[in-house]
């Protein structure tokens, strides 16, 4: 059996999953078991939502990516994989991006759509935003300036005693080619095409990965607007709207009956000791180096000392 940790979950698998972080643990309740097998045609209980590639209820989820894989995820602790291709990298890709998030939803945990870096004081600065907002590019440009990667694309946020903590996902950064051209931290053998014929590449950062929870000192909400980089503090009341928008796979909230969980999670984060920032950047792709410097000057120097 292979053992991993991802998004704070202990994962035990009968097959090797190269993109996850290996981690030895004593088996306990809640461990996620990954097996290979035939995915059933339908759910055992009533289907609450049907989408082109999935159908689900609160406790069961079938995900079928044509010519790639089928997945059956149940009770927040079982993943059954049925590959439909010989290319296991493609199968695992869907495991990392969609299936793990499903398990979290079933465990009553909402993941957030964020990337992030570790600051010098061992806290985390997160970048939130929709696809293509520049989360990964901002993180990589800050890594060029000496910061360590924390997570890419998703993280779990939990509040304890008024402090917000983040747990990272898995040690892969997904980035477009133009971002890779500007990075100076990773060697060519750490970078691979993420999906056959896709446009994104994966950077493996197993050696720098932090599986432990770290306190979050700030969340930066990224958007494209205007001609210059503009950074401003955001009130927590305003952040509620942005946090809601940045729940990863927010389109599942209703179908999986997580409305109350959404309200509770966002309220707790908004009320925690945390700085929120609005960062607007020009649309041009080459604005990320300037953006990274501005974030270092105006955000990290304020909260990350």
């Amino acid at each position: 059996m292979y053992k991993y940790v991802a998004l704070g979950m202990q994962i035990q698998s009968e097959i090797e999953i190269p993109g996850l972080f290996p981690f030895d643990f004593q088996e306990s309740g809640g461990t996620v078991m990954v097996k290979m097998g035939t995915v059933p045609e339908t759910l055992q209980n009533e289907i609450l939502e049907v989408k082109p590639f999935s159908f689900f209820n609160e406790r069961e989820f079938i995900y079928h990516i044509p010519d790639a894989a089928k997945f059956y995820i149940t009770n927040g602790d079982k993943i059954l994989i049925e590959p439909l291709t010989d290319n296991l990298d493609e199968v695992f890709f869907y495991l990392y991006t969609g299936v793990l998030a499903t398990v979290l939803f079933q465990k009553n945990i909402l993941p957030f759509h964020v990337s992030g870096v570790v600051l010098k004081n061992n806290t985390v600065l997160l970048f939130a935003g929709h696809q293509r907002a520049g989360k990964s590019s901002t993180s990589i440009m800050l890594q060029n300036r000496g910061y360590l990667p924390f997570t890419d694309d998703t993280a779990v946020l939990q509040v304890k005693n008024g402090l917000c903590y983040a747990t990272s996902s898995y040690p892969i950064i997904r980035a477009m080619e133009r971002t890779l051209e500007k990075q100076s931290v990773y060697s060519d053998d750490e970078i691979t095409p993420k999906i056959k014929e896709g446009f994104k590449f994966g950077i493996n950062f197993h050696k720098k990965f932090t599986p432990e929870q770290l306190p979050v000192s700030g969340i930066v909400f990224l958007s494209e607007d205007g001609d210059e980089v503009e950074i401003s503090p955001m009130k927590s009341t305003e952040a509620i709207k942005w946090l809601k928008f940045n729940i990863y796979r927010k389109q599942w909230v209703n179908g999986m009956k997580k409305e109350l969980l959404e309200f509770q999670t966002i309220s707790q984060i908004a009320q925690s000791k945390l700085h929120f920032f609005s960062v607007k950047r020009p649309w041009e792709s080459d604005s990320f180096e300037i953006l990274a410097q501005a974030i270092e000057d105006q955000v990290i120097h304020q909260i990350g000392k």
Binding site: K51, P52, F53, S54, Y63, I65, P66, D67, E90, F93, T97, G98, H130, Q131, R132, R174, M176, E177, R178, K194, I195, K196, E197, G198, F199, K200, R249, Q251, W252, P282, W283, E284, S285
Partner: protein, 283 residues
Amino acid sequence: MENKKNIVWLASYPKSGNTWFRSFISALRNKGEVDINAISTEGIFSQKRGLEECLDLDADEIPVSKMDQFKRISFEHQSNTSAMKCFVKIHDLYSMSKIDHQPIVPQESTLAAIYFVRNPLDVTISMANHNGQTLDEAIAKVVCNEHAHLVHSEKHAQDQFQQYLGTWNMHVESWKNVSAFPVIFIRYEDMKMNPQDSFSQVLKQIEYEATEEEIQLALEASQFEKLKNQEVEFGFREKPKACKSFFNKGEVGQWKEHLNQVQINKIRQFNEPMMREFGYWEE
């Protein structure tokens, strides 16, 4: 399961009245209110975000070989799950996918298409403003370019998929040749000259029920100057970066003042058949 035919494609070469019609539909649905940043039609064919929420995938990570298939699946789902007509903007030239050789749009989910056609001489002027180009560039790179595209590089993260346009003539002709579903052609110049009649006619042809009063109210709300004023006051999120104002002038016959004879001749040379077909040749 049989597909529901709910989709009405709002098709056009860019800068031909498409956004005006979407604003009109939005006003019609909202009792004469329209917010250009919340147009209540059912999206844009090339936009990645709708597909991502529908399929639970990142559009930039879909293999190229599956891209067109997944787009069709996404809109089929939208059509099947909608209780009303879905108006979807599309700027793509109508064609078979180069990837899977199927039509680029899901024909089985299509009720009809409304094609907005505008004199390419005027399109050129609006296009130059839209793209931040000179008139000569708009002519050479877009209206007379057989390889013209919107969104140039598929390798860069942009909110829209690449869209193949071709020349103005190729674009109009491609939609004229569609036989799988009705395509209703409406000239921008007629929309401007007699909006009540032309908009009413189009609605009638797609069997969209609205009274003359409702249409009049929606037309007043979506007048060009009102949309332009909204853009000045609140901005317009569909405006490209290079464009100073999306709602520029919208006038008919601007080309007579702005284009020189060489430019006119070149546009006519590349676009003659459809210019003749739609009454722009003799002007």
